[in-house]
Symmetry: C2
Subunit: 409 residues, 2 copies
Amino acid sequence: MAGKYPVSPLAPASFPDLPVIRGASFASIAAGVRYAGRTDLMLCRLVPGTVMAGVFTRSSTRSAPVLDCQEKIGGDSEAGAAIVVNSGNSNAFTGRNGIEATRAVTAKAAEVLGLPVERIFTSSTGVIGEKLPHDRITAKLEELTGMLDEGKLEEAARAIMTTDTYPKGASAEVKVGGQTVKIAGIAKGSGMIEPDMGTMLVYIFTDAAVTRPVLQDMVSTISDLTFNCITVDSDTSTSDTLLMAATGASGVRVEAGDTGFIAALQNVMMDLAHQVVKDGEGATKFVEVHVSGAHSDVEARVHAKSIANSPLVKTAIAGEDPNWGRIVMAIGKSGAQADRDLISIRFGDVLVAEKGWVAESYREADGAAHMKGQSLKISVDLGLGGGVATVWTCDLTHGYIDINADYRS
Amino acid sequence: MAGKYPVSPLAPASFPDLPVIRGASFASIAAGVRYAGRTDLMLCRLVPGTVMAGVFTRSSTRSAPVLDCQEKIGGDSEAGAAIVVNSGNSNAFTGRNGIEATRAVTAKAAEVLGLPVERIFTSSTGVIGEKLPHDRITAKLEELTGMLDEGKLEEAARAIMTTDTYPKGASAEVKVGGQTVKIAGIAKGSGMIEPDMGTMLVYIFTDAAVTRPVLQDMVSTISDLTFNCITVDSDTSTSDTLLMAATGASGVRVEAGDTGFIAALQNVMMDLAHQVVKDGEGATKFVEVHVSGAHSDVEARVHAKSIANSPLVKTAIAGEDPNWGRIVMAIGKSGAQADRDLISIRFGDVLVAEKGWVAESYREADGAAHMKGQSLKISVDLGLGGGVATVWTCDLTHGYIDINADYRS
């Protein structure tokens, strides 16, 4: 589907310059899995000593590649590792064929790279329920191995796209004990995006040296504050995968609780998460929903997600309508606690409603002016306690229907 | 908004002939609450001895009229009762003004009808968060009282419409102990429809004599199987109200467990519920989602709702795409238990998938043919246990965006 729809108006002006992460090399190729005339297969090789961590969809119908990654992610090896990703076919709900296809791809990659099969991680993204033509992938792995290059991360970001309208990358550099470590990541995703890592693939690399428990803890914690706080359409994919690889090539050791590294990693993950929302199918507005004053952070998030997932709120945003009544509706239906007469609502800095009704100072023109922006903020204070949460989403437009009512996108 | 959008292609050919329910009389008028050139206020008077029961939205931000009805519904009186409904303004999230408006309307109605204020039930439907111009309503109540007529139920169904594209009515006659009792009901609703009675107003009348506890139990139980099993957009209104009035005018007593009466009432309520879905904003397909083989009925309903509310499933249906992969996705994200490799899926009678993959017998053309129909059935068997549930919904189309991205619909 890539290229079929116009680039999101929320897309960054250009793909960022990503630093080389020593120890991680990449290659991409057109394997013809489903799409014609574009790359759809990427290989990443990681040097011996690389530590891997991952976060995966919680769907009960997850795909064979996800199950395979989950089995392997806890393992350790000094041998190095590899990641193989194809777009066009998700190899999900493909029964026994799914496992066989994953085995074929990982076995061939292990063979050509000289790695144990336990260190080959794969992801597949695209249509669900169709048999993965894995021979088209295995046929290209040897050629890909010969093309591996530390400077080819941007090309990898392009190869993993499905309905994405632009490739997504982000990076950071941070001093740890006076020495520089680098982080760079890529992501894909634009629909089927909700809580638990909706159709999203994310690969993050660092040259820091980090132990597996520390890396896994950082990735899990930060995912919960970034990728798990975005939503496009409340649909959760069967294939979502985030893999992080720490090659250690910088020789700089990062320990648990290293604030600088954690902040830098969070910036990269948040940046990628926001880019995924900004490529939400049909999106024309990027919306931050901030809820405070809830009984707990968990309750705040329930309210924020209820607002961010409401089709009526999302269509009002598409129509640039400061329709705060629909915000009230979404709070009311969330199931989390709210007292109608304590709620206050702001669009940007404009106080819209307080004490159970429209604010005395509110003028419709002010709310309408905020809604015309491309980047909106909806803040709700519940007046009950100290719970806070922030969630990011986009609007619901004709573009979403165009893309998804299309026969088998 | 009424009349602005074309009549739903799923609408019944014509409004049904509703029987007169003796003891219940109706009048409608154009009060100019918000809409021009149409009726927007209806009054129903119920004879002394009428028993009332009700079911209301569980939204935590419910409107003043809903809170007022909930306070009154448990009361009993031999004096009779009345229902006043306006469209155009929901009197929801209107702070202290909301209570004052409800008090003004109920007080005036009590005065002109000679009834205790505790027996005046009101509903308001329409835009949220704007002050209800209650003086326009009270100004018409005396005139309405003079127009009351047992034959004017259809007009009442028209007066309560908002974005509805057609008025909704249903009826039944049933023999109880050899004597005939009649049931007739009207409803409105087309968006903000989910579980707990999404923007829906329903009024049902019978000339049977039923005690309050029995009537309330019947209405609550059947609501859970009918109105609480439909969903248009997963959004739950602040104003949903179902009121049922048993006038007793037939002299025929209905007792708890009267199977014939219960079945007749369920038919009327199911008919109205289906009519609400068929008027779902932008709907072009009526979809029954049946889930069996779940661990429990509750888990079956969670899966069915997850399928029926998934934007990706609903857009696929709009596109007539037999995209069963999205059904698998929706099962996977629901949170209820599923084993990917035990799931089977049917579109109509066509077995699409079984044992974790596409069925051997399945031909895409058969699935595609079913999707071209106007009334679709998606059946999922989870293969885990005996839990079953059925939910009704519609597709998600450009029409929904048109209606809801419109400034302040």
